[in-house]
């Protein structure tokens, strides 16, 4: 008998030869070392190929599949607030500082009592404008806080009201942006 054909080698290794043929092949293998080596090679190759390390998808793969498969849940207003807690806190902080700068009388003194220099001249020009602006703001917010503010806590209330007004304005703007009534980017 001739050497085993490629197909016979594979079928022998895979165990898909019929018993009559098997006998014939085994007889040849009993004396042909070349075919035996070929069979061994294919057996080993198969064993290695079966145990090769698998290629793994990236770490968050399952998560990504699940988000595209599950219906998106509408966030409740509670989760919205929790999600935006950081933003809200930062906003209040910034507005609070801004309000303090605008309405605190102690800061104005510093700008007036400095030596004449280019820098302080510039500051004076600025503070002139600044005073006009802050006076206007004060009258406006005084009208706003009329009847609420008491004399003792006037500054604090102004800051508070300023912060609240700004928050409402920004909040409304934000809502419009979210609803895409205003587009920030094209």
């Amino acid at each position: 008998m001739n050497h085993l054909s490629v197909e016979q080698v594979f079928r022998y290794v895979d165990g898909t030869v019929q018993s009559a043929e098997r006998q014939q092949l085994e007889e040849h293998l009993s004396y042909c070392s070349r075919c035996r080596r070929e069979i061994d090679l294919q057996k080993n190759l198969g064993r290695v190929a079966q145990k090769l390390p698998l290629v793994k998808p990236s770490a968050r793969f399952t998560e990504r599949v699940m988000t595209s498969v599950l219906p998106k849940s509408q966030p409740t207003w509670v989760t919205k607030i929790i999600n935006n807690l950081g933003n809200m806190f930062a906003m209040i902080l910034v507005l609070g500082v801004l309000g303090y700068v605008l309405f605190s009388p102690s800061l104005k003194i510093q700008t007036q009592s400095s030596q004449p220099s280019q820098y302080s001249e510039a500051l004076k020009t600025f503070s002139g404008f600044y005073e006009k602006f802050s006076k206007a703001m004060t009258t406006q917010s005084a009208q706003l806080t009329k009847g609420v503010a008491t004399n003792s806590s006037e500054g604090g209330t102004k800051i508070l009201v300023f912060t609240l007004v700004c928050l409402i304005v920004l909040g409304t703007l934000d809502k419009f942006v979210l609803q895409k009534k205003i587009r920030l980017k094209s």
Binding site: V48, L52, V55, V65, V69, L70
Partner: protein, 206 residues
């Protein structure tokens, strides 16, 4: 004992959709290996696989247990990858050269067959590399046969190819693999035994 695919699918169909994650985790690595070998690009393979899992989820209510979930799912993976290959102009469906008989596949039998140390990571690395670099139409079937341990009939079901074509492609793929390996080590016997020493040091090669 872990839940079977069938139990998980029953839970999903009963409304527990989150259980699908279990099914994904169970099959993603082997399926990713198939996609990767077919598409040769990690990013494309991952996109194809995600697409396949989403399609499978949507089709799950129509899944009848005519085959295992794995076979059914690999059919989706294979088709998604085949479509991607088609867009690239690489056709892996039935073609004329599949008509060629196995006569054209020849083992380089007269070569000296080296005593390969199959347990070394070097041989494993090269086998992996050769399989990865085979043309998609061979590597897909070689991978299904070895990694997914599918029978010829299951491969026929997954690929939709005739049994004869599956056999030819599988034998050809395996012959190419075998010849590449013999070529690599045939004339370099010392090189093979040399790698013995590295056996334990290089555990897993990604």
């Amino acid at each position: 004992m872990p839940n079977s695919d069938q139990e998980i699918i029953q839970r999903i169909l009963a409304g527990e959709k989150r259980a699908y994650a279990e099914l994904v985790n169970r099959h993603k690595d082997k399926a990713m290996t198939l996609a990767m070998r077919m598409l040769k690009s990690r990013q494309e393979a991952e996109e194809a696989l995600q697409d396949a899992f989403v399609r499978a989820f949507k089709a799950l209510p129509r899944f009848e247990w005519k085959s295992s979930f794995a076979t059914w799912f690999y059919r989706i993976v294979y088709n998604v990858c085949a479509t991607s290959l088609g867009k690239r102009g690489e056709e892996i469906h039935y073609s004329l050269d599949d008509e060629e008989s196995l006569v054209h596949v020849e083992l380089t039998s007269d070569d000296y067959i080296p005593d390969l140390q199959f347990e070394t990571s070097e041989v494993q690395r090269i086998v992996s590399e050769v399989i990865q670099n085979l043309p998609p139409k061979y590597t897909s079937i070689v991978t299904m046969f070895f990694i997914q341990e599918m029978s010829y009939d299951e491969i026929v079901e997954v690929t939709g190819l005739p049994l004869g074509t599956v056999k030819v492609r599988l034998f050809r793929g395996r012959s190419l693999l075998r010849n590449a390996l013999v070529e690599r080590f045939g004339n370099d016997f010392d090189g093979v035994t040399m790698f013995k020493d590295f056996d334990d040091k290089k555990e897993s090669v990604e």
